[in-house]
């Protein structure tokens, strides 16, 4: 009897080990385990045949069944490990991914250099304490000229050749009218900048009929010319480098007095005024570049907005965004900003 069981056990074991070898993945192995070792498995079923054995045969037979079960179990475990190893190896095999193929999704677009430059200027002045203010681009004569001490038929109007629209309105020739609008609303102290588009009848490679300015204004008690020089020198050195030479020379704007033209050392020739081929073309040999206009607010302007010019003083300045961008990026034709050629834009 015991021999019969042994024969059966041997047959089942052989079969089980063969199937373990054939099982190529975890699921098949599990099926093999259930078939042979499960509650209803073949090796469990064989125990039921023990009824035919004598009492002294049973313990030995039981041991043999358990030993067989153990060997099948071990075989499954080994096979599981090798299958898992094969799976892992398969996951890591394959070709080197071509990481140089193009990415999915759109390549990043570009922010226009004038917007980027305006932001840089406003950020620098913002860090110095100037808040941004806005005003209309279509202005009236009063805000654009008269309140800025440029009465009708004043020769200073020649400095700003104006686009007119109906009803005596015009396209603002500078962002200075924002000064007036703010001062009409708010009492000092005041530190504002007004960025935006402005318009003048002018069209060549350094002038565009539309261009951009950032106008600044600081008003309080005790603000003086030395403060103007400090703020603008700081601004220019933040923008063009800490060693930039800066100079102030007298000029004329109807809305400021004293007025100043502010120059920086020529960024092209390093302030020498000369290049290898003769005079530097950019600074015309002077070694200096006109970069902004400024001045102490004229008392007549304060009068227009109802500020007491004996009590308050202040300074104003105007920066040309295109001008600074052209110098910083080495752009020689202003029209490139408005041609919107992607091959230009994508360089920013």
């Amino acid at each position: 009897m015991a021999d019969t069981i042994q024969q059966q056990l041997d047959a089942i074991e052989q079969d089980a080990l063969a199937q373990v070898e054939q099982a190529g993945d975890a699921a098949l192995l599990e099926a093999v385990r259930v078939r042979f070792l499960g509650k209803k498995g073949e090796l469990t079923a064989i125990l039921r045949g023990f009824g035919a054995l004598s009492a002294d045969e049973r313990p030995a037979a039981g041991k043999r069944v358990n030993a067989t079960k153990q060997r099948v179990h071990d075989a499954i475990a080994r096979r599981e490990a090798s299958v898992a190893e094969a799976v892992r190896a398969a996951r890591l095999s394959g070709h080197q991914l071509d990481v140089t193929l193009p990415s999915f999704g759109s390549p990043a677009g570009h922010i226009h250099p004038l917007a980027a430059m305006t932001r840089e200027i406003c950020d620098t002045l913002g860090a110095l304490g100037f808040s941004i203010a806005d005003g209309p681009e279509i202005e009236d004569d009063y805000h654009n000229f008269e309140a800025l001490n440029i009465p009708p038929e004043h020769p200073a109007r020649d400095m700003q050749d104006t686009f007119f629209i109906e009803d005596g309105l015009l396209l603002r020739t500078h962002t200075s009218p924002v000064q007036i609008r703010v001062m009409q609303e708010v009492q000092p102290p005041l530190m504002i900048i007004a960025p935006g588009a402005v318009y003048r009848i002018d069209d060549d490679n350094t002038h565009s009929p539309m261009f951009h300015q950032v106008e600044g204004l600081m008003v309080d008690e005790g603000i003086n010319f030395a403060h103007l020089k400090y703020v603008l020198t700081t601004f220019l050195r933040e923008t063009f480098g800490p060693d930039s030479p800066v100079r102030f020379r007298p000029s004329y704007f109807p809305f400021t007095e004293p007025s100043a033209e502010v120059d920086i050392g020529c960024v092209i020739c390093g302030g020498k005024g000369r290049s290898e081929t003769g005079n530097c073309r950019v600074c015309k040999g002077t070694g200096w570049l006109e970069i902004l206009g400024a001045g102490m607010v004229d008392p007549a302007v304060f009068e227009h907005v109802g500020y007491d010019s004996e009590r308050y003083s202040g300074f104003a300045f105007g920066v040309g965004v295109e001008r600074i961008a052209m110098l910083k990026y080495g752009i020689s034709d202003i029209r490139l900003f408005f041609a919107n050629d992607q091959r230009f834009l994508e360089q920013f």
Binding site: G109, A127, E137, E153, A156, L171, M191, P209, R249, F338
Partner: protein
């Protein structure tokens, strides 16, 4: 203002060295814009030559062959100009001369003919921009003389940029005065040379009928002169200063204009009718021929000079043709006057005629020089053209009264400039500028000299203190202000973020001029109300820039077209800027818009799934842009066919609540064709301020769910025109607290879906904040929702 240094030196003794002079002037507000040193190669290379013979070039129609005598005998020159003839004196550049443009003259053969030099034009020599031909000098000039001097090319000339407030520096004497004050030089005796006023009566009477427009008028008669070329020294100075020599009478008036800054006019006295010179405004409009042979219309209020027959000059602007000096003039009436600056400007601007006279009158001239300039001119005319004064000075009007004294407070100087400047120091500066100074305690009282119209107020004098002290002498000082944070207005914060976001969508920012053509404005009405009109520009630079843009889209499309033309494959673009319209009366609307354009194959759908731009691409960009301010669920999308620029069936208005904040859609196919862009081009435009205004305030933080959600899908068969959004809105309107979210996940048209219908599949997410929903709870709720939708919307569930 061109200032030949030799001329300047006549009035200033010991001019500082050139470098120093330039520095001093520039740093005192008289910017030296250019310096022209004499070009030695021109000085030696240019000679006068007489044309002996001129005949056509045998081998070239446009060239002629000239035999010229340059003092060393005849030589042959090939020339391309036609304005000369035998006997003329011209300017010859001999071989080896290098012209200002860099051209080196060589002995050569031109089309087979020998050419021993070049006959020069004013442009080629950099003298003026006269393109009309070669220079022809007066016929009395001898051949073989160095020509550079005659053309003013042998002098150093500095070019000053004179600001509008400094009319007093628009003359050699004015600049001399300034240089003396700035450099501490002494003015020469020539500066102050007094001239005797001729005695006797003038044959002419002056009648000023418009005393508010003409303050002062003086005139003298000179008779017996002979009009001819000016002497070389004068012609040379005029040329160096940038004026073309004409004849000795006209040249003297120009010479004095440059020397004194006092405009003069010479009438041919034999052509003047009557003996009364009237100065009065025009009443009825009249056509008037000016001496440049143009007919110009004078209108009511223009000031004119009259003889008994009619107007003979536009006061301060230009003389008339009828009484102009000509070759045969022998008797002149010479005018020197003081006209009201604004009136001169109004007339000159209206006529578009800016003359050397009007330019100076506008900026204010020196009343004290009116008569002395006149007498100096008469003297020079007699010196160069002969003749003599007849009678005395005809006069009317008087110089305006002296200006009031201005008190300049030393304390105020300190307050404005930020540092102490002593009273004595200020007085010294004011004195140097010609002010009459008086000390008043610690302050200074000063009366401005007659030539300085810009020194009226205390602040004007304080500027002079700063100027003469030198701007460099004021040490920068940080202002003491309380610490504060600068404010970035919400609009600017949004615009900054928008740029970053749109650029990260792969779009590039463009900036276009705000001008637009009428026809594009008609197509692209933008976000402005339908009742508004476009804003017209009265004086546009180009005919297609006659209006202000109503929309950013034409600019975007133009930029797109440019790039496609340049072969740039896909150009998704965006733009931020103002758009304009006008309502009733002076009401102007400006919108801060942000717009975008998508065109061509999409690259962002992964391999194998590229496709043309579609409405939903643009919608997605808008959603992600608006997400800066509002959640996606808060944006409404309403189909519309009322925007002419858009495809009537592929366009939506973007809503926040009931407010339309923008529009998105495909460009109308007809418009796409006419603009030459692809039919798949989709665009959007949003009003940034409306967006900021209607963006709902941030809601309170919702708790993060603790219990799991269950999701159920349902597919409906709907008529084609029923919007998915309508179904979503119907679900939302049930206000069922257990419904967390409803979303469309598929649209299907095709097999199994009846004609005129489409299948829309929705996913509804259920969740309770109280506990986990059982399958039965969810099933019961979902059935109820589906039931409601089928009855309310008349749609059926697709099996």
């Amino acid at each position: 203002m061109r200032v030949p240094l030799g001329w300047l030196a006549e009035f200033v003794s010991e001019l500082p060295p050139l470098e120093q002079l330039i520095e001093r002037l520039t740093m005192a507000g008289l910017e030296v814009e250019d310096v022209e040193a004499p070009d030695e190669r021109l000085v030696t290379g240019l000679v006068t030559a007489r044309i002996l013979e001129k005949k056509p070039h045998p081998n070239a129609d446009r060239l002629s062959l000239c035999q010229v005598d340059d003092g060393d005998g005849p030589r042959q020159v090939v020339c391309g100009a036609t304005n000369m003839s035998a006997g003329d004196i011209v300017v010859l550049a001999r071989p080896k001369t290098v012209l200002p443009g860099g051209l080196k003259i060589k002995k050569s053969k031109i089309r087979g003919e020998e050419s021993g030099g070049m006959l020069c034009s004013a442009t080629e020599l950099g003298v003026s921009d006269d393109h009309t031909g070669i220079i022809v000098l007066g016929s009395d000039v001898e051949a073989g003389l160095p020509a550079a001097g005659l053309l003013g090319l042998d002098q150093t000339v500095i070019e000053l940029g004179i600001t509008p407030n400094r009319g007093d520096c628009l003359s050699i004497r004015g600049v001399a005065r300034e240089v003396a004050a700035l450099c501490g030089c002494v003015l020469t005796s020539a500066f102050d040379q007094a001239r005797e006023t001729p005695t006797g009566d003038s044959a002419y009477a002056i009648a000023i009928d418009s005393p508010d427009l003409c303050w002062m008028y003086r005139g003298v008669e000179v008779a017996g002169m002979e009009v001819g070329p000016s002497p070389a020294w004068m012609a040379s100075r005029l040329a160096a200063a940038g004026l073309r020599p004409i004849n000795n009478v006209v040249d003297v008036t120009n010479y004095i204009l440059l020397e004194y800054g006092q405009p003069l006019h010479a009438f041919d006295a034999d052509l003047l009718e009557g003996s009364t010179i009237g100065v009065r405004a025009i009443g009825e409009s009249v056509s008037f021929a000016t001496l440049d042979d143009e007919d110009r219309e004078l209108v009511d209020g223009d000031l004119a000079i009259w003889d008994s027959r009619g107007p003979v000059a536009i006061a301060g602007v230009m003389g008339g043709a009828r009484t102009a000096v000509h070759d045969g003039t022998t008797r002149i009436f010479l005018e020197s006057a003081l006209f009201e600056p604004r009136a001169v400007r109004v007339t000159s601007r209206r006529l578009g005629l800016v003359s050397d006279s009007s330019y100076r009158f506008e900026r204010g001239i020196d009343a004290s020089g009116v008569q002395s300039a006149l007498l100096r001119a008469a003297e020079l005319i007699i010196e160069t053209a002969g003749g003599k004064l007849v009678g005395g000075v005809a006069a009317a009007g008087a110089a305006p009264a002296d200006r009031a004294a201005v008190v300049v407070r030393t304390e105020r100087i300190r307050k404005v400039l930020g540092r102490e400047v002593s009273r004595d120091c200020a007085s010294a500066h004011f004195g140097a500028l010609g002010g009459a100074v008086e000390e008043v305690g610690v302050d200074v009282s000063v009366v401005a000299p007659s030539h300085r119209h810009d020194l009226v107020r205390e602040i004007d004098w304080i500027e002079e203190v700063a100027r003469l002290e030198g701007y460099d002498s004021f040490v920068p000082e940080a202002p003491a202000v309380p610490m504060h944070a600068a404010k970035l207005p919400p609009l600017h914060a949004f615009q900054r973020d928008a740029r970053v976001r749109l650029a990260s969508e792969g779009m590039s920012e463009v900036v276009s001029l705000s001008f637009c053509s009428r026809s594009l404005n008609e197509h692209f009405a933008g976000l402005h109300d339908h009742g508004t009109r476009a804003v017209g520009v009265r004086n546009p630079l180009r005919s297609d820039e006659g209006e202000m843009r109503r929309s950013l889209l034409p600019g975007l499309i133009a930029a797109h077209v440019t790039n496609v033309h340049n072969g740039v494959a896909v150009t998704d673009l965006f733009s931020l800027g103002r758009t304009f319209s006008r309502g009733e009366g002076k009401n102007i609307f400006e919108i801060d818009a942000v717009a975008g354009l998508l065109s061509g194959a999409r690259r962002d759908r992964g391999p194998g799934s590229a496709g043309d731009a579609r409405f939903w691409d643009a919608k997605g960009v808008v959603e992600r842009l608006l997400r800066l301010l509002v959640g996606g669920a808060q944006i409404g999308w309403r189909p519309t066919d009322s925007h002419a620029a858009f495809h009537p069936r592929e366009c939506a208005e973007i809503l926040l609540g009931d407010t339309v904040v923008g529009v998105v859609g495909r460009v109308h196919p007809d418009l796409a064709d006419s603009l030459g862009i692809r039919g798949d081009t989709c665009v959007f435009e949003v009003d940034s301020l409306l967006l900021l205004q209607y963006a709902p305030p941030r809601s309170a933080l919702a708790p993060v769910p603790r219990y799991p959600a269950s999701s159920r899908d349902v597919s409906f068969l709907v008529l084609h025109d029923l919007l998915a959004g309508t179904v979503v809105a119907a679900v939302e309107s049930m206000n069922e607290p257990l419904i967390e979210r409803v979303a469309v996940f598929d649209e299907y048209v095709g097999k199994g879906v009846p004609e005129g219908h489409r299948a829309l599949a929705f996913s509804i997410v259920y969740r309770s904040a109280e506990g986990t929903l059982t399958d039965d709870d969810v099933a019961e709720l979902h059935d109820r929702v589906v039931e409601r939708l089928t009855t309310d919307l008349g749609i059926e569930v697709r099996a």
